[in-house]
Amino acid sequence: MNTRTIVTTLMVLVGLGLMVVSYVFLATPTCNTSIACSNPVMPFSAGIFVVGILIAFTSAIFYTVYKGSE
């Protein structure tokens, strides 16, 4: 394991983690029509979901641009 692999894996995991966590906090997909579901549990969780996607994919840039010993 080197720095490149560790950081890339971390970024992917953080991104996926943010996606999973924010998805749970979105206006929940488990209920259909209740008034409670018209608002997200945590505001901006959709934004966090998107940020999760961005972080996960940015890891590819780090992976290729990072200069380190193999």
Binding site: A27, N32, T33, S34, I35, S38, N39, P40
Partner: protein, 250 residues
């Protein structure tokens, strides 16, 4: 918690469209927008034709497709069954409109201020002023701008701002005060009945108790809160006749 419903007696409705007028006055809806709409339809071929009427408010479904598809939760269903739109949340994607099988959603295609009433008219014209007594319409019901219910949200009652979706609110501003929707109170033949369907003594429960009833497009699983008594659901032979002005002029 109350659960509001409306009973529409098709045997009583005479198609006067007084409810449509009451709705427009109560909710100050813009031109060509009919939150309450009464179909005047006929079936059969001349000379054996039969005319019938079908009032169509928002059905306030218990399983509303419009609420499901709203990407931002602007369309919501209160615990008491009233389906409302938050005009400050609405992004105007019109998904609720295409998802609704009843065609009850009205998008504000233009700024409604110029024609808040029914017609574009120069109210300062002396001839017009002689008739109106100098009163300039665009009266606005102040109750419509109030935040409603436990959630304290706007309800598409009064904003009428361009680029958002609006529809029948069951006159939520009146219901929360203990009144009936405007269309129900104005009906001259008591074809419309409103109340808490979970209360066995409410007008709507009493009315429905001994009559057979149907719901519009029940097969789609939307489970409307508007229940029709008497008459028959519109079939494939039903043709609409006599339409009011339904064009939005640009």
């Amino acid at each position: 918690m109350a659960k509001y419903a409306m009973a529409v007696d098709l045997d009583r409705c005479q198609g006067c469209r007084g409810c449509m007028e009451a709705c427009k006055i109560e909710n100050n809806t813009p031109q060509a927008v009919f939150w309450m709409y009464v179909f005047r339809t006929e079936t059969g071929e001349y000379p054996d034709t039969k005319m019938s009427f079908l009032p169509r408010p928002c059905q306030h479904c218990n399983n509303p497709p419009c609420v499901k598809v709203c990407p931002v939760g602007a369309r919501f269903r209160r615990e008491d069954g009233i389906v409302l739109t938050d005009p400050e949340r609405c992004i105007g994607c019109r998904y609720c409109e295409v998802a609704c099988p009843y065609g009850v959603n009205y998008y504000n295609w233009r700024k409604p201020d110029a024609a808040f009433g029914a017609y574009d008219m120069d109210y300062s014209d002396p001839d017009v002023a002689a008739v109106t007594g100098g009163v300039i319409p665009s009266y606005k019901n102040p109750d419509l701008d109030l935040l409603q219910g436990d959630e304290q949200r706007l309800t598409a009652g009064g904003a009428h701002s361009v680029g958002v979706m609006e529809k029948c609110t069951f006159c939520v501003h009146r219901v929360d005060k203990g009144l009936n929707p405007a269309c129900v109170d104005v009906c001259p033949v008591h074809a419309l009945h409103f109340g808490d369907i979970e209360d066995p003594e409410s007008p709507v429960s009493v009315y429905l108790r001994e009559r057979s009833s149907f719901k519009l497009l029940d097969e789609l699983g939307t489970d409307p809160s508007v229940i029709y008594v008497g008459g028959a659901p519109p079939g494939s032979e039903t043709r609409e006749i006599e339409r009011p002005l339904t064009e939005v002029r640009s």
